[in-house]
Symmetry: D2
Subunit: 391 residues, 4 copies
């Protein structure tokens, strides 16, 4: 397996999560011994982290050393060590549309043109990446800022044929995020969506992934507050402590937070957060409130405060408060690396379509039949390990 080279084409390559992931791989190449945060570090049956080769698109033209420096996530001393390889990576011009992501802007863009031209451009990027870097396989990962969500009932998303006709007609419901996913699938590249945007999670693209047997996984990485929720809620259910209400607030100050200051992007995000609780508990929690607030002093260091109201024996009330002072990109980046290794493995096994066993990584996991997902973390972990061991 030593000679393998797996390409990772990232949508949003200059962002905090992507630059952290790339810096991490470079530090591992240099012998970093601390494997904290990498859940599958001991799985020798997956491609090694060092096999990953990064490229991708971003609205900002900065090379990754400069981008990582601005995000202030990776420690300066660590960044210095890997400055060389990071400087060598420069994002490709991105396909953007301010109608779908208002607070995101940048100079490094593909000049606007018909949708079909944009798709062709993206596919060409992927082919050039594969051949230029002599890659065995390319995985596409969406780490871009959250898009607004098109009406899911739009006919153009309902099936592959309608979608392709929509491309021909420049249908306004087709967002840039859908274009990237479509281009990836048409190139046979496994596709991972770590954001709350739709990505490949529309009937049209699921149909394509199934047809061409390309693995897809998503959506919205489960890193902070939702991670905690899917750990605690199963315990409350187990002990029959009724959840009367759950109030969650998040404060974060990175670019992600700024994007979510736009209500339409926020709506996408809250949507993926919402149903988790009811599905785990088996009853609706009427008083489930989720807030996300942009608050600059936190920077990338997100804080999630939860208050949970519980009802126990004889109807008596109890409360739990959880304050998670976490680092958004530090939690997300290693999961992205594992997802790349895992969809590469799925592709190797020839398993296409939604990868249900990867629900462990997501707030809103895709299921094979589009039905409700398992959300309890421990059950997701068991499903993942069963799949790995079934190889």
């Amino acid at each position: 397996m030593t000679e393998q080279r797996i390409g990772v084409a990232v949508v949003g390559l200059g962002g905090a999560v992507a630059t952290t992931a790339v810096a991490g791989v470079e530090l591992l190449r240099l012998g970093m011994r601390d494997l904290s945060g990498l859940p599958l570090a001991d799985r020798r049956d997956l491609v090694p982290y060092e096999a990953l080769v990064f490229g991708g698109w971003d609205l900002a033209p900065d090379d990754l050393a400069k981008a990582a420096h601005l995000h202030r996530v990776v420690e300066p001393a660590q960044l210095d060590t890997v400055a060389g390889p990071l400087q060598a990576i420069k994002p490709w011009p991105a396909v953007a549309d301010p109608a779908w992501c208002r607070n995101a802007a940048g100079a490094n863009v593909v000049p606007v043109g018909p949708l079909r031209d944009r798709v062709a451009h993206l596919r060409e990027d992927l082919r050039r990446f594969r051949t230029g870097q002599q890659l065995e396989r390319v995985v596409v990962v969406n780490l871009a800022s959250t898009e607004a969500r098109p009406d899911p009932a739009t006919p153009v998303l309902a099936g592959l044929a309608a979608f392709e006709t929509g491309l021909d007609r420049d249908d306004p419901a087709i967002t840039p995020g859908l274009l990237y996913a479509y281009a990836a699938l048409r190139e046979g590249c496994p596709y991972v969506n770590f954001t709350p945007s739709l990505g490949a999670d529309v009937p049209a693209l699921r149909e394509l992934a199934e047809r061409d047997r390309v693995p897809v996984a998503g959506k919205d990485g489960k890193t902070g507050q939702t991670l905690v929720k899917t750990v605690l809620a199963p315990a409350f259910r187990s002990r029959a402590l009724a959840v009367e209400g759950w109030y969650s607030t998040n404060i974060l100050g990175n670019r992600d937070g700024q994007i979510l200051d736009d209500p339409s992007s926020l709506a996408s995000k809250l949507d993926t957060k919402g149903s988790v609780l009811d599905e785990i508990l088996g009853y609706p929690v009427d008083d489930h409130v989720v807030r996300i607030d942009y608050y600059r002093p936190r920077g990338d260091a997100k804080e999630a405060w939860d208050n949970i109201d519980l009802i126990g024996f004889l109807g008596q009330r109890m409360q739990m408060k959880v304050d998670f002072l976490c680092r958004d990109s530090i939690l997300a980046a290693p999961l992205v690396l594992e997802l790349v290794r895992l969809v590469a493995e799925a592709a190797r096994r020839g398993e296409g379509g939604p990868q249900e066993q990867l629900g462990y990584f997501f707030k809103a996991p895709m299921t094979r039949d589009g039905g409700p997902a398992q959300h309890a973390l421990h059950a997701q972990e068991q499903a993942l390990l069963r799949w790995l061991d079934a190889a």
Copy 2:
């Protein structure tokens, strides 16, 4: 199954947990519909809660209506409803020894005598309970205040023969708690130890339980902070977030807290709390600090505050704080009811000795071979459900 009557002989019948459990069963008899806090409420294969008939020992002579009133756990309006049946239950005189539990005192005691006389007295109590109340089976539950712990290397505890010789010789290492457990086993009564005291968890009594095929379960109910710990720690392990330190403090103001103000009782308690973390994580957490402080304003409403220091990807530090404002007896009482139903079921199946599948309920679960226990709550739950379904 409607005609079945199961006796529950409680050591510490007048305490907060026991009176809450008894009041709860009486409220269920009267048709209370709220089953919150009862994990196995929907298991029809276990004896119904209404089949339970309570008796037991206490140092205080108060009837259970008066005792429950003093504990201020059950709501006054609920207590009024069940005042009649609670008044009818008066604790039997207890076997006590101030050498082993300094802060506990009371007037309702069996006059001191040789150990063999005490055992005979306790066995007679159990026989009278069974025949007097026409009970199919009697389960003994230890809910008494935490005892000091005898040196576990004392030869008298190392085997059944040595223990019985010790009884003959009035060996000072044989605590009252051990006497109750021995009496229960000799009467063939399944024995549950919900406290941090040794109970049946010494080689001598394990040997007896195995020999006579009597189910035993323990020890120390997992209700508050340790419950949270065994829910969160598996998630940190799963996500490879290294636990650098875990600081836990508890404040509580009920009789339990007062008992733990005595350092020798506290030592027993901390002992059962300590190893959980390392065993779940698979590595030692050097900076694991657990504090328990008696603080009257809390009353029975315990508060557990945890601070957890985590190390994630690239060695970066994160923190989580958990504040659990809980009700000690409200969490404990329903678990006691489930344990009674479960050891009765084990007895029905003829399964004696340590009931490893009941580890779900305990901070320091007994294992069949005395080896390390599974502590992760979800894994414990699965083991329990497998056992139930294997009937």
Copy 3:
């Protein structure tokens, strides 16, 4: 002073704060010894609490025993003790206008008519109260749900003459809250506004209060989070700890919270909360975020969570978190009682217009010249005590 009877005419008499205040006075009449929460309990120079006689308006027709029962603030046992006197108090029909307070509704309303008729009606209520109950003086207190705020630049509020012309012409900018304040002042009744609504805090009514020498005080009682803010912020300023950001969230589930679910009422509330911090610190805190969320499980038991980001020596960052689990009406009601005693004292001294020395009680204190107010709690307390001692 024993024979004195002071009337308290409350706008919103059936609300949680008002019923708590009335129940408290009745309990004091019956000899309750606990004076917790009453800051001026030892001031013999003010009218005694027992001298207060309550009446007032409410949209709901329930007598105060029934209303208090519904709010679940006062303990049932205490309510039983004072059920008689509370049943005897029934709110007068209220003047309402759904245009200004959408979420408030009720059947006990004065049929809509010209503004001049409404004012006459309210004045007649106050006269009937005074003579019917043989009161020496009547104080009007606004405890009604928060109104939307009319454009403060509306000419009709800019001066008394314009306001009275507006009354003649049924100007739509004149809210019910302004009518109550105007009626009170015209009757010579000292007026206290404990809500974020405008009350008497418009130039027109300040002019009237000054002209007729009627004391007015407001606005928005300082009870929970803002109280904490005006205690901590002066300490940070004192120690030169720079406040980089302050994130405040409130969850509450009483009628007040429901009203604030309407964005126009919420805007009034946030407005009175906003400027406190900058004025205490002497510099603008750009990242000052205040959230209020309706969350039913809390009921009247509000919870305020604050996160404060501080910068200390050498630019190093620190954080403080404060979680205040408080009881809204329990904090507010005693302050209302003190305010009534204090404006009665001001009236006795012949001191009319805005009572600046009462800023201690308010989030947005009125000042004599309309300029910035002192917000630091300890400085406000000193000003109040100086005024009291200057008698």
Copy 4:
């Protein structure tokens, strides 16, 4: 005032607080503009920070650059900037006695000898410092690890004559900390005790300070939890919210914390923390619990968690939780700098003996008559500012 040079002779010069203070002054010399944390930065009537020249004793021989590096308090980039001047400062050998401070150890010690010899040695150090550096005045500041506390009723501490006889006889009750204070006073050096050790706060040394008109100030810097307590408690008193209980726990992982792991040092510390609350509130809080725990992951970044139980109107209970994630040395160092400036000012004014107006800086402020101190922060601040303005 530009030519003034004030010497600061620190007991414990290599510690975290001292090295932070020295680094801070050097950064100010280099033009650092951020004056956060320095309460009196705008007082031009005090000596400028840049006039301070540092020397002092430490058990460890490391120069201050190395010592500061080990403490990890000052940012590496800042330390690099001032590495030169810090390297130039090397601690003088210290007078130590393991009997009084068990967990402190080091190689840089004055060989043990009679107490009189030790005093002579320390006085010689101070004289050499003054003349060698051409200092106008030398201030001695105690920042050493907390000592155990001798029996305060020991006759040798009761008066100056007894103390000096005790020196002659090598009385074992005379701790190293008392020797430093005595030596300072005999050299006419104003003395500041920022630690919980006795310092100059015994009758013998107060007598000396009064006699020779040397300013003394102490004891135990008020930086974290006690600071918060003396800010919140006055507000609770002001609002008549009765404090039913106050539970405080501290976790810290620096050398200070390690020292406090020794119970005799801890006792000194808890003693200075204890009485604050009762004196502010005016009644005893029976359930006031203070914990300090050594917890390595915190390092110098102390965390103080407080739970406060309050009783409000009608006897209803409320709670407040405060979690202060602070930096011990970052809070302490600037206060030390202000204290040096202030005792230098007192010396300039010829005001000797205990400096009561400096209570603002201390947990256990010395008063002129030894009576109870003012603890409320805002009142202390006002007293300090009055003194300053009285110049």
